[in-house]
Amino acid sequence: MDQKLIDEVLAARARAYDEARPEVVARVHANGKLTARERIAALLDPGSAVEYGVLSGRGESDWVQTTGGVDFLGTVHGQSVVASSTDFTDRGGGYGAGRLGRLLALANEHRWPVVLFTEGGGSRAVVPESAGGRFLSIAGQNGLPHGIFEGMAELAGWVPTAAMVSGPSFAGHATMAAFCDFIVATRGSSIGMGGPPMVEAGFGTRLTPHELGGVEMHEQIGGIELLVDDEPAAIAAVRKYLSYYQDRPSGAAAPAANSIRSIVPNSGPYDMHQVIQALADVDSVFELRPNWATAVITAFGRMGGRSVGFLANQPLSPNGGAINSDAANKIARFVQLCDAYEFPIVSLIDTPGFTVKLPGVALKPQDEQRAERPGVTRHHARPLRALHHRTVPLYSVQVRRAYGLGAAAMAGVGNARSVPALRLAWPTVELGVNDKYTQGFDDIVDPAETRERIIAVMRLTKRSLERATKKRPRDPW
C-alpha cells in the first residue's frame, strides 16, 4: 500500500490527541480539570483502553478527526466497560462521533457497565461538520448521532451505568447523565434540563449555569448520588462504585465491630452509620445520596467479601428516622437498584413510621421535623411494592422501633413472595401495639453476633448476575 495513504491516516489521528493541542490542554488544566482523554485514562485499568472512532470522515482533502467527544472500551478492576467523555473544549462538547450508540448496543449485548463523562450544553444548534463544505462520514449513512437515548433507556436496570458530571451539563447532556444509575458530580458543576440561553429565551432572565442548576442544590433534592471536590475524586468514586459489581472471596470486620454493643441507647438518637460500619467489612461502606432524605441511609458495602446494599433508618436525622415521601422514594429506588444487579439487601430498622411534608413548605433539612406530620401518601407504597417484587435475599435487623407500616417499608410484608432470608432483632427491640406490621423475628440476637449470622446465611445463597433478561427497568428517582 502507498505509504502516503497510511501516513495520512496516522497524521489525521495524531491531530485528535492531546499532544497535538497543548493550548487546549493547558486551558483545561488551568480550570482544574482533566481533558476528555485524561479522564478516560484515569478511569480505565492501565493498558486496557481501546478507542472507537478517532476519525469521523473525509473532508475536502484529508481525513477528519472526531470532534466533541471520545468513546472507548476498556476495563475497570478487570471488568469490561464502555467509557465515553464529551469534550467541552470542542464547541461545548457533543456526541458528534456517532460511536456511542454502537458501544451502548455492545454494552447491552454483553452486559458491560457504561461510564459517561458528560459536560456540555445539549445538542448543537448547527451541525458542525456539514458547515465546512464537502464531508463524507465513515460512521454510517449520514453519520449523525443516533440511538443514544434509546440505548440508555434499554440499559436501565440491565447494565450498571455511572456518570461523572464536571462542569455544566445541560439538556441532552443532563439527560445522558440522568439515565445513569449513579451520578457523581464535582463541586461547582451544574446540571439542568435547559441551559442559560434557553432560559434567557424563555423567561428573559440571565442566569449562570450554576445559579440555574448547581450540583450543590441537586445534592439536596436527590438529583445526584454523590458530590465530591474534584475530578480525580469523582473518578475514584466511579471506580469504587463499579467495584461492588464484583464479589470478593472474603472480607474482614471493621475495628468498629468491637463497639457494636455500645452504639444503641435504650432511647434517644444515635448514629445508624456506626451500626453499618460495625456490620460491614472494613472500609467497604459507600453511601449513595447521603444528604437527601437523610432519615434513610442507602449504601453499598461488603460483608465477608460479598457486595450488599445497606438500607437503614437514621434515628439521628432531624425527623428521627421517620419515612417521608422523599425517604420512601429513596428506599424504593435503592431496592430496585439492588434487585436489578443482584445485591442482597441488609435492612436495619428503627423508625417511628410514615410522615408527610406539609404542602408548600420549603424545606431545609433542619426544618424537616417541624414541617411534617404523620400520614401516608402514594409515595409510601413504592418501597413496599419494590420490596415485594424483589428476588434478591433480604436480611433484616430490627434495632429498636418499627411503628405502623415502617418495618414494611424497610423489609416488606410478604409471605407470598419475597420472604426475608433472615429476620433478627436486637435486645433493644420495642414490641407492642405499634408494631403490628412487623414480620416477627427468627431470633433476638446479641448485636455482636449479627454480622456472623448474616454472613452465614448469605453464604448459603449464591449471587448470580447470569440472567437472560432484565427484571424491570429501574426508576430514575
Partner: protein
C-alpha cells in the same frame, strides 16, 4: 335439624343488616353518607353481591355489638363481571381495623389473586381498633396465613399491574385505612374527606395536589359511578362506538395564531367515542392530560400536552411522573396509547430544576421505551427539544405504530427561539433595544420553522402522513382494528404507585 337452631342462626345474622340497625343507618344518612351496605348495593349489579363473613365479630362476649366486625366484604358483579368489594362500616367502632376484620380483607386478596377479580375498597375508618389488644411477636398484617396466601398489604402489592385495585375515600380515612387507599392503583375521593393519622390529617384536596388522588368528586353516588366507569375500561372493550358531537369541531380547535393556547381536552373529546372520556388526576401535573377513552369501542389511553396550562404544555416533574405512571398502567393492562403532541419540551428554569426535572424526566423516556402496547402519535403543533422523544419514543427499536401530524405541525431540535440565542447570540446582544433583539430572534425562528413545518414534515418522512384533522379518528381506529387486544397469562410488571 332443630328448627330453633336454624332460626337462631337466621335471626342472629339478620341483626347485621341495615334493616335491623335503623339508628346506625340514620346516623350515616344524617352525615350525608350511604351505609357500608348501601354503597356496595349501589356499586354492584342488582342482586349480585354475595357476602363473605357477615357473622364475623371480634367481640365474642358481646354478640351483636360489632356487626360484620366493621367491614362488609364479599364478591359481586359490575357490568356482569366479577369483582371483590370491601366496605368499612363507620358505625362500628368508627370503621376501625381489628385482627378479625383484617382477615376478611385478606380473604378477598386471595380470591382476587386467584381469579384476577378487581378489588374495590371503601376505605373510610380510623385505623387501629383501640378496644382490641394485640399480642407482640407475630403481627397480623404479615402473618397472612389465616385467610390465604397473602396478607393485606403484600396482597395489594402482588395485585399491582395484574388485578385492578380501587379505593374510595369518603369521610375520614386514618392510619391502616388510609394506607389501603394510598396502596390502591385508583383512588377516588369525595370532596372534604380526610386522609391521615389519628394525630393529624390532610384534606383529600391537599392530597390531590400531591398526586395521591385520581379523582375528587362531590358525593358517594358520583364516586361509585366513577369506580364503575374506571373499571369498565380495564375489564372490557365494546364492539363499536360513535363519534362525539365535538368531532365536528376538530378542524377549528388549533388556533390560526401559533402563539395562542387552546384546550387539548377539546381534542380528546373530538377524537374519543361519545361520552367516553374519563380523565385521571386532572388537577395535578396539569400540563399533561391523561385520560382513559374509547375509540370505536376499544379502550384507549390518551395522553396529551395541555397548551392551556400554566406551563403551556411544558413537562415538569409532576407531569413527567403522571405521564410515566399512565404509560406503565396502560401497558400493564394492554390498553393501546394515543399521544397528542404539542409541547415546548420539558419545563426549564430554576423552579423546574429545584423540583428535580433533570432526573425525573428519565422515567418518561424509560416508560415509553419499554411499552409493548401500540402507540399512535398525532403531532398537532410543536415538539421541541426532547418533546418528540418523550411523546413518541426515540424511534429506533420501539417506534410508534402510527405517526400522524396536522398541517399546523412544526419541528425542530430545540426551541427555535432558544436556538436563535445560540446561533445569533452576538447580534442579539448588540441589539439597541429589547424589541430589536426579539425581532432578530423571531426572524431566525421563523426562517427555520418554514423549512421544516407543515407539508414539509411529511415530505421528509418525519411522519407517516400530514393529514386533515377530521381524518384523525378514523386513521387511528383503522390501526386499532388491525391490532386486537392480546390475552395475557401473567403480569408484565408491577406498577409504581405515584
Amino acid at each position: 335439624m332443630d328448627q330453633k337452631q336454624i332460626d337462631d342462626v337466621v335471626t342472629a345474622t339478620a341483626q347485621a343488616y341495615d334493616a335491623a340497625r335503623p339508628q346506625a343507618v340514620a346516623s350515616r344518612h344524617a352525615s350525608g353518607h350511604l351505609t357500608a351496605r348501601e354503597r356496595i348495593a349501589a356499586l354492584c349489579d342488582p342482586e349480585s353481591f354475595m357476602e363473605l363473613g357477615v357473622q364475623a365479630e371480634s367481640a365474642p362476649n358481646a354478640p351483636g355489638s360489632a356487626p360484620a366486625d366493621g367491614v362488609v366484604t364479599g364478591a359481586g358483579r359490575i357490568d356482569g363481571r366479577s369483582v371483590l368489594v370491601a366496605s368499612y362500616d363507620y358505625t362500628v367502632y368508627k370503621g376501625t381495623q381489628s385482627r378479625l376484620n383484617q382477615g376478611k380483607l385478606e380473604r378477598l386478596m386471595f380470591l382476587a389473586l386467584e381469579h384476577r377479580w378487581p378489588f374495590i375498597c371503601f376505605a373510610d375508618g380510623e385505623g387501629d381498633r383501640a378496644q382490641e389488644l394485640r399480642g407482640a411477636f407475630g403481627g397480623l398484617g404479615g402473618m397472612g396465613g389465616a385467610s390465604g396466601r397473602v396478607g393485606l398489604f403484600d396482597g395489594l402489592c402482588e395485585l399491582s399491574g395484574w388485578v385492578p385495585t380501587v379505593a374510595v375515600v369518603s369521610g375520614t380515612s386514618l392510619d391502616g385505612n388510609a394506607a389501603i387507599a394510598m396502596f390502591c392503583d385508583f383512588v377516588v375521593a369525595t370532596a372534604g374527606s380526610m386522609i391521615g393519622t389519628v394525630e393529624g390529617q390532610f384534606t383529600v384536596e391537599a392530597h390531590e395536589q400531591m398526586g395521591d388522588i385520581d379523582l375528587v368528586v362531590a358525593d358517594e353516588p358520583s364516586a361509585i359511578a366513577a369506580v364503575r366507569k374506571y373499571l369498565s375500561y380495564l375489564m372490557c372493550d365494546l364492539p363499536s362506538g360513535e363519534p362525539s358531537p365535538e368531532s365536528e369541531t376538530i378542524r377549528s380547535l388549533v388556533p390560526d395564531n401559533r402563539r395562542r393556547a387552546y384546550d387539548m381536552r377539546k381534542v380528546v373529546l373530538a377524537l374519543a367515542d361519545e361520552g367516553s372520556v374519563f380523565e385521571l388526576r386532572p388537577n395535578w401535573g396539569t400540563s399533561m392530560i391523561t385520560s382513559l377513552v374509547r375509540m370505536d369501542g376499544r379502550s384507549v389511553g390518551m395522553f396529551g400536552n395541555q397548551p392551556m396550562s400554566r406551563l403551556a404544555g411544558a413537562i415538569d416533574s409532576d407531569a413527567s411522573d403522571k405521564m410515566a405512571r399512565f404509560l406503565e398502567f396502560c401497558d400493564a393492562y394492554d390498553i393501546p396509547l394515543v399521544s397528542l403532541i404539542d409541547s415546548p419540551g420539558f419545563y426549564i428554569g430554576p423552579e423546574a430544576e429545584r423540583a428535580g426535572i433533570a432526573r425525573h424526566h428519565i422515567r418518561t423516556l424509560t416508560a415509553i421505551h419499554h411499552r409493548t402496547v401500540p402507540l399512535y402519535c398525532v403531532q398537532l403543533r410543536k415538539a421541541y427539544g426532547l418533546g418528540p422523544v418523550v411523546m413518541r419514543g426515540s424511534g429506533g427499536h420501539e417506534p410508534p405504530d402510527l405517526r400522524l401530524a396536522w398541517p399546523t405541525v412544526e419541528t425542530g431540535g430545540m426551541s427555535l427561539e432558544g436556538a436563535a440565542y445560540l446561533v445569533r447570540r452576538k447580534e442579539i446582544l448588540a441589539a439597541k433595544s429589547p424589541a430589536e433583539a426579539l425581532a432578530i430572534r423571531d426572524e431566525y425562528a421563523n426562517t427555520v420553522r418554514d423549512m421544516q413545518s407543515g407539508l414539509r414534515a411529511g415530505r421528509n418522512f418525519s411522519f407517516d402522513e400530514v393529514i386533515d384533522p377530521a381524518e384523525t379518528r378514523d386513521r387511528i381506529i383503522a390501526m386499532l382494528r388491525l391490532s386486537p387486544r392480546p390475552q395475557r397469562t401473567g403480569k408484565k410488571n408491577y406498577l409504581d404507585t405515584i
